[in-house]
Amino acid sequence: LAERTNLAGVRHILLVLSGKGGVGKSTISTELALALRSAGKRVGILDVDLCGPSIPRMLRVQDSAVHQCDSGWVPVLVGQDKALALMSIGFLLERPDEAVVWRGPKKNALIKQFVTDVAWGDLDFLIVDTPPGTSDEHISTVEALRPFQLLGAVLVTTPQ
């Protein structure tokens, strides 16, 4: 029931994918979120890159802490108007240089939690930033999001 509640208020879910690393997925996710916010939309970003979470730094909230409420984790609200919500594993690390050296099963468990246990509230768009590849994170994220309003994927590349 909690699962339905947490994503039930999200109108559209968008995945940002590549396959290749370093092409600008996180940058695009961030800019897309900011552009949608400028257009008056309520936006959330879910950063499921467990090994290399870049979004907190890009939004200058890398020193934020996350709290829990009754329905789950409270996302970090970004900006003066607090109109952009962000959840990333970056917030759960004790030290920013700490490596998340986890095998697949542990990553899968956390991703499931991230997808279902963040109290997003009402959002027009939830943008999900992913790591490079086609592995555990991607399979788990798509599986966990399948019951919800998955709009589709934006694929990022560079010319070569």
Partner: protein, 278 residues
């Protein structure tokens, strides 16, 4: 018994170098390919290049080996040879089409990596270079674990100058320390661009927090060198040619060669010290 199998297979490998990052797209595969070419320029040396990036294997294309298949013989899988003294193995050779996605979870990836180490008949190898995917996950844990059957000289960590990369690279450095993997040093790629026409230098990826140099100072790690951006590098990679051979006069080539030299010296010195101890 498995460890014994791996140890037997890898017994004839003199030096092993892992190429890591933490960040994607910084030039690990490019660097691995050029390190292999650079070391194999000495024809008396036998070089092996193992690509364990299972989701995004770039090495076949970069080495001009797209479309090649792996052959089996009585002694195991045969690497694909670019030169007589340079053999390559990658999941790319096992796919029926280069666009086939390998959508595997960790355990299956680990299985293939183990097979690469156990079943490939590398023969006598002076240098085994292992190209890895970005991150600190299954592939990285597994390769370190499986290669403990032999010995790893160390890791070369690749980055680009900006903080968003360094952030992930610091984690990789910590990973190496956690698993007691010696760090040969760090390579800063895409470090500046010199216009071939006006010779003006631009920082395409500005080192807003001091770049790899500052990070290496802070973490007490060696900076092996900085390589400038050269559009020829990407072109050579796309065409499967060695950039070092195609652009011998490029400042990037000079940087790469110096870095390769330093890695060689590190490995030879290390080996010499080990032999002294024995």
């Amino acid at each position: 018994a498995e460890a014994a199998e791996l140890r037997a297979r890898l017994r004839a490998v003199r030096h092993t170098v892992l190429v890591l990052s933490g960040k994607g797209g910084v030039g690990k595969s490019t660097f691995s390919a050029l390190l292999a070419h650079g070391l194999a320029a000495d024809e008396s040396r036998q070089v092996a290049l193992l690509d364990i990036d299972i989701c995004g294997p770039s090495i076949p294309k970069m080495m001009g080996l797209e479309g090649e298949q792996v052959h089996q013989s009585g002694s195991g899988w045969s690497p694909v040879y670019v030169e007589e003294n340079l053999g390559v193995m990658s999941v790319g050779f096992l796919l029926s089409s280069p666009d086939d996605a390998v959508i595997w979870r960790g355990p299956k990836k680990n299985g293939l990596i183990k097979q690469f180490l156990r079943d490939v008949d590398w023969g006598e190898v002076d240098y085994l270079i292992v190209d890895t995917p970005p991150g600190t996950s299954d592939e990285h844990l597994s390769i370190v674990q499986y290669l403990s059957a032999t010995h790893i000289d160390g890791a070369v960590i690749v980055t680009t100058p900006q903080e968003v990369s360094l952030q992930d690279v610091r984690k990789e450095i910590n990973f190496c320390r956690k698993v007691k993997l010696p760090i040969i040093g760090v390579v800063e790629n895409m470090s500046g661009f010199v216009c071939p026409k006006c010779k003006n230098e631009s920082q395409i990826f500005p080192p807003t927090t001091g770049g790899a140099e500052k990070m290496c100072q802070n973490l007490n790690v060696s900076l092996l060198g900085k390589v400038p951006l050269d559009p020829q590098i990407g072109k050579s990679c796309d065409r499967g040619q060695s950039f070092l051979a195609e652009a011998p006069e490029s400042p990037a080539t000079l940087s790469y060669r110096n870095i390769i030299q330093r890695i060689q010296e590190y490995c030879e010195q290390h080996h010499f010290q080990e032999e002294k101890i024995m």
